[in-house]
């Protein structure tokens, strides 16, 4: 008989899980492995609420394996290290992001692209190498192989830095890969949420001109005055959109709902690049003529490898970049999820796990 979640492993854990596609989260007792020779145990202080958490809690993508404990923007303190661990010691401030293991031997893994490994193991809703389920950061502690633990640099706050572990790397990686870092060039950021607001900050740090493209006019003042965007386009304002056609070198599209690509492609200059990092649950419509006529491209990107994630954290620490967050208690998570579904957050909820999840740990 399959073991119950709380009996699978020797260490008892308290978390919050969704048990069906209502997506409602509630307290859930499960277990984690003992800290192995290569492992680091992290007592969780904060965990960001990523839109993927909401998608998976509600089985929007069709592959949720309930019960699911979400959370892959985890920051905490090291409480145990295995005998082979040389990168961390007890007391260190560390992060765990979207990935907790990979095959370690394929070409992707050898090139520090664990995120593209065909056998990648995600922080939650995946299966470990021993076949047991992985559970995420809406919990009191986590045990992770040292290769997949990140050092949190001095100067990066634990709470506001947590969302960098998914939102941050998700925009940083394609901005580097697709060459969106030449000072003076013009970047469009479609969608001003968890990912989008960090893309604006990174874009400014790279010396780019940044235009936010959004369906919500109410976000304009803040985008410009607080986030530092140079301009703001409302997608329903056809006159302004048309005036901006052919002006952008690249666009990061962070929108996770189905939306038209044609207007975004029109905003690009010749040779322009539209990179999509949102994951709508249905295919998007791609008009081919504009790609051909302007030698434009649409590309994708999915989080980032461990080396690049560390590089991103260090870059953010140096440039004082962290997320704009709303701190919540664990028991407020369901309300937060409802508000997230309506984009009613500036711009990431972060769960104060350390102070609100009663821990036996």
């Amino acid at each position: 008989m399959a073991k119950a979640p709380c009996q699978e492993h020797p260490q008892k854990v308290l978390g919050w899980a969704a048990v069906d596609k209502s997506g409602t989260l509630s307290p859930f007792h499960f277990s984690r492995r003992e800290n192995g020779d290569d492992d680091v145990t992290v007592k969780i202080q904060y965990c960001g609420v990523c839109h993927s958490d909401l998608h998976l809690a509600k089985n929007d993508w069709g592959f949720t394996n309930y019960p699911v404990v979400p959370g892959h923007e985890i920051v905490g303190a090291v409480t145990k290290v295995g005998s082979n661990v040389n990168k961390f010691k007890v007391g260190d401030r560390v992060g765990v992001g979207v990935i907790v293991d990979s095959c370690r031997s394929c070409e992707c893994c050898q090139q520090d692209l664990e995120n593209y490994c065909p056998q990648v193991i995600f922080t939650y809703n995946s299966h470990s190498k021993d076949g047991s389920k992985t559970y995420g950061g809406y919990s009191d502690f986590i045990v992770v192989d040292q290769r997949f633990v990140l050092r949190f640099p001095e100067g990066l706050p634990s709470d506001a830095g947590a969302p960098l572990l998914c939102a941050g790397i998700t925009v940083y990686s394609p901005m580097k890969y697709y060459g969106m870092t030449e000072p003076g060039k013009h970047l469009g950021v479609a969608g001003l949420g968890g990912l989008g607001h960090i893309a604006v900050k990174l874009g400014k740090a790279f010396g780019l001109k940044v235009t936010v493209i959004s369906s919500s006019p109410r976000k304009e003042a803040e985008a410009i005055q607080r986030l530092g965007a140079d301009s703001f386009l409302v997608t329903s304002d056809l006159v302004k959109m048309k005036a901006a056609f052919g002006t952008m070198d690249y666009i990061i599209d962070t929108v996770s709902a189905v939306h038209p690509l044609a207007p975004l492609i029109s905003l690009l200059k010749l040779n322009g690049k539209l990179v999509t990092v949102g994951l709508p649950d249905k295919p998007l419509e791609l008009p081919i003529f504009p790609l051909v006529l302007g030698r434009k491209l649409v590309g994708g990107s999915d989080v980032g490898g461990m080396k690049e994630t560390q590089e991103m954290l260090d870059f953010c620490a140096m440039h004082n970049i962290a997320a704009d967050i709303e701190l919540i208690r664990m028991e407020e998570i369901n309300t937060a999820m409802e508000r997230l579904a309506k984009s009613d957050v500036k711009y990431r909820f972060v769960i104060d796990v350390g102070n609100s999840l009663p821990s036996r740990y």
């Binding site: 593209y116 999509t276 419509e285 791609l286 051909v292 491209l297 994708g300």
Partner: protein
């Protein structure tokens, strides 16, 4: 005041010309008298010997993309022999073998033109169905003579047979340019080519000459033998054969997709490796479905490309000359053109019709 009547095509310009034109969206072509400008100071005038039949010609005469201005003389894969050059022409002389492709004018001042990308200039003047600076229509190569600014004329080396080189001026550059731009031109890479027609067979030839492994992806199993034995493709996938497609998943560095009918992108995205590129050179007239997960999970890219600039077109001709590359053609007489168009609509040609203008376009006396 009496209004000035627009001049007829025969009277617009001083030099008489004769060709075949479509008069309406039936696309039926028939003899047509018109005129061309006198050789200007930077112009090259040449006697047309051959003109390739591009699928765009068919789309245009039937007004499938809208914007057709009848009477429409198609043809933008034009080769011939120079008969006159203007006094400021430096690159050509009478008797030279030359070609003209899809473009006969651009603005010369925008960023695209400055970067030898006249094909992306917002004010390009196409070889046919466009308006010249003087407001007159451009007429293409299904005609006896051609006049073009030397900037838009390409030199054809003696080593290449004129009939086989004509299709390079559109089909050739349309696949050569993206192979270079998207980095799919390095020995050892694996290229997929979707669609084995005018463009597709040129892509195979160029890619093999560049040292790539080439797999053709086609709906027609009947094309396999020729593809492998004659064109030199390394392998052939029938796109509706799930097993074959599955076994080739994640094996290609890039794909050149020449198919202009609506078709699914998902199986093609599955064929490319991580960081792979799917390049569209055919342009379906309706949007295609783009599934986000496969694009993101492999950091893959879907890009487009449109013919090429003049500098690159000349480079491509020179490359073809060096590697003995010409198009596989079926030479037809001018009066066969309507039948050729019907066959082209059914993809019944290996792989380009070329009209023997020099020997079969006779002016109706």
């Amino acid at each position: 005041m009496a209004s000035r009547m627009a001049k007829s095509p025969e009277q617009e310009h001083p030099v008489k010309a004769f060709g075949w034109a479509a008069r309406d969206s039936s696309g039926h072509l028939s003899p047509f008298k018109f005129s061309r400008r006198a050789t200007g100071e930077k112009d090259v005038t040449f006697k047309v010997l051959y003109c390739g039949i591009c699928h765009s010609d068919l789309h245009s005469i039937k007004n499938e993309w809208g914007g057709a201005m009848y009477p429409l003389v198609p043809g933008h894969e034009i080769v011939g022999v120079v008969t006159e050059v203007g006094p400021k022409v430096t690159k050509f002389k009478v008797g030279d073998k030359v070609g003209v492709g899809c473009l006969v004018g651009s603005c010369h001042s925008c960023e695209s033109c400055a970067n030898d990308l006249e094909n992306y200039c917002p004010k390009t003047i196409f070889t046919y169905n466009s308006k010249c600076h003087d407001g007159t229509m451009t007429y293409g190569g299904y005609s006896d003579i051609m006049v073009a600014d030397e900037h838009f004329v390409v030199a054809i080396p003696d080593s290449l047979p004129l009939d086989g080189v004509a299709p390079l001026l559109c089909a050739g550059i349309t696949v050569y340019s993206p192979l270079k731009h998207y980095g799919l031109d390095k020995p050892g890479l694996h290229l997929g080519v979707v669609g084995l027609g005018g463009l597709g067979h040129m892509a195979v030839k160029f890619a093999k000459a560049m040292g790539l492994k080439v797999t053709i992806i086609s709906t027609s199993p009947s094309k396999k033998q020729e593809a492998v034995e004659r064109l030199g493709a390394d392998s052939f996938l029938v796109s509706h054969d799930q097993e074959q497609m599955q076994s080739a998943m994640g094996t290609m560095d890039g794909i050149i997709d020449t198919v202009s009918a609506v078709h699914p992108l998902l199986p093609l995205l599955a064929l490319v490796k991580n960081d792979g590129k799917l390049v569209m050179v055919g342009a379906p007239d309706k949007p295609l479905e783009l599934p986000a997960f496969p694009l993101l999970m492999g950091r893959k890219v879907v890009g487009g490309s449109l013919i090429g600039g003049l500098k690159e077109t000349q480079e491509m001709i020179n490359f073809a000359s060096k590697h003995n590359i010409t198009s596989d053609i079926e030479v037809v007489q001018m009066d066969y053109v309507n039948t050729a168009m019907e066959r082209l609509a059914k993809a019944d040609v290996r792989y380009r019709f070329v009209i023997d203008i020099g020997n079969s376009l006779k002016s109706a006396a």
